[in-house]
Point group: C2
Chain length 290, copies 2
């Protein structure tokens, strides 16, 4: 434990006050974040901003993207494959940044891996409940996320009286990846998708897919000023920080920590699209096998 | 060989005039067609119409769709995996119905499998050259197909003087899969994509992705009456028929033959979207592992 030894301290608490079953190697592991592709970088960004001293390994499963149109069985299979890649790199906590994978694979992952697993659905639900006044909450997401009913269950578990209106928006992901985030086409698409939600007088709209924050201006313009948009990134980062604290897993280093980026397909497209998400260049994106 | 025996005939030609190295088991194998998903059903339909007495096994790689945004390496890997699934079912000829896989993986497949392999790019190029009058040909396709330059090479090989103008149209696939094939949104998307091609005075436009025939009305309306749309389905079916004849591989049965449909992800979505492609219900779609 650096220049201290366990012998300097009572046997049941180590040098940093962590529970006795947490060893230094665990604390020094990175936070592992995975997504079907580039969208989860919105979550990466929030976690990195909240925990600048924590090393982070981000994995984009670009060879098998998208997850949102695939079956629960296939999404679970891919999520477990991603978890395996990150666990092989010694991560101490897993963040499932993809809403579809959070909706379908969280229980399977929690049952099969030995590190804490945090999804984005519950944080998103909590964020929405912190904003709504009329308890009429809209959720937009992939076909998979919407058909799973995960947001409905998460919101009702916290607030049984809330009304939830969900709408799949499959074209938003390709629009965001294409960079068509404003103008005639995305506005027409958004009008079409949001009409039923707006007709239901929602006052809060969960951007239930990590790609959607890129379309927030268009979605906000179509929704109007009476609807608050929420995404789960900041709330997820908060959940990650709290979990690390609770389990004595916070890194002991100070200052900027390492950030690694892994992808399952050739890095070029990821690097290019990532620029739009992070508004910064990514260097050294590593292509890993799966 | 049915109720005839090889002994009834000269040794170097069998009962049906096939070359001596073609056995009955080979002729009785099915035609194997694969695509990244549902789009290749447009090719399936043309082959089935041209060769109603030939058994066909169609494989949609729905767990890994789309191919059009992925790297050449990954597309080759997936194409070889699909070929393996079909070859394990004893197919006598492989049709790569996906333009992206045809563009990236045809050489690799031909080098690694022992049955004839037919792609859709060369038939599409031939179809376009049969229609153009001014030899200014537009090609629309996925990012992968367009960046591969495969259509340019195929057209120039047949007609060195032709001018080829290519445009990637990534939103057309999700629009077709969503069933948004006519109306305000697809028309706005088509106007945006087709403008540079129309500015180049093309008179022929290759629908270089098996999904695009679903959008033909919108693409045709935006292109105007001076542009002829061509897809490779009919020409590919013609190439399949000619290859089977040349190699003595035509089925000896008469009457309607079996059609099998395999998918790598849950069949429900495939079956639903297939209805739009075939205008008929598919029964008994089989979910296979990969």
């Amino acid at each position: 434990m650096g220049n201290k030894t366990a012998g300097d301290h009572p046997q049941d608490v180590d040098a940093f006050g962590a529970p006795p079953n947490v060893c230094r190697a665990q604390r020094e592991g990175a936070i592992g974040i995975f997504d079907s592709g580039v969208g989860g970088l919105t979550v990466f960004q929030a976690v990195a901003a909240r925990l600048p001293d924590e090393p982070i390994v981000y994995l984009g499963d670009t060879a098998r993207v998208p997850y949102g149109t695939k079956s629960p069985e296939t999404v679970v299979r891919y999520a477990q494959s991603c978890a395996g890649i990150l666990l092989a790199r010694g991560v101490k906590l897993l963040v499932v940044a993809c809403n579809t994978a959070s909706a379908f694979a969280l229980d399977a992952l929690r049952a099969s891996v030995e590190v804490p697993v945090i999804g984005v659905v519950e944080p998103g639900a909590r964020a929405a409940l912190g904003r709504t006044r009329n308890r009429r909450i809209g959720v937009i997401g992939t076909s998979g996320t919407v058909s799973s009913g995960a947001y409905l269950r998460a919101i009702r578990a916290l607030s049984p009286d809330s009304e939830v209106f969900a709408q799949a928006c499959p074209l938003f992901v390709p629009l965001a990846e294409e960079g068509w985030t404003e103008g005639e086409v995305p506005r027409a698409v958004a009008r079409e998708y949001l009409r039923p939600l707006l007709n239901n007088a929602i006052d809060t709209l969960i951007l239930g897919c990590t790609h959607y924050p890129l379309l927030a201006r268009t979605i906000g313009a179509v929704s109007g000023p009476g609807v608050t948009l929420v995404d789960s990134a900041a709330e997820t980062a908060q959940a990650v920080a709290a979990t690390l604290e609770d389990l004595g897993l916070r890194a002991q280093s100070t200052g900027p920590a390492r950030r690694e980026f892994l992808v399952t397909d050739a890095p070029e497209v990821f690097t290019r699209v990532a620029k739009r998400f992070l508004d910064a260049e990514l260097h050294n994106v590593e292509w890993v096998d799966f």
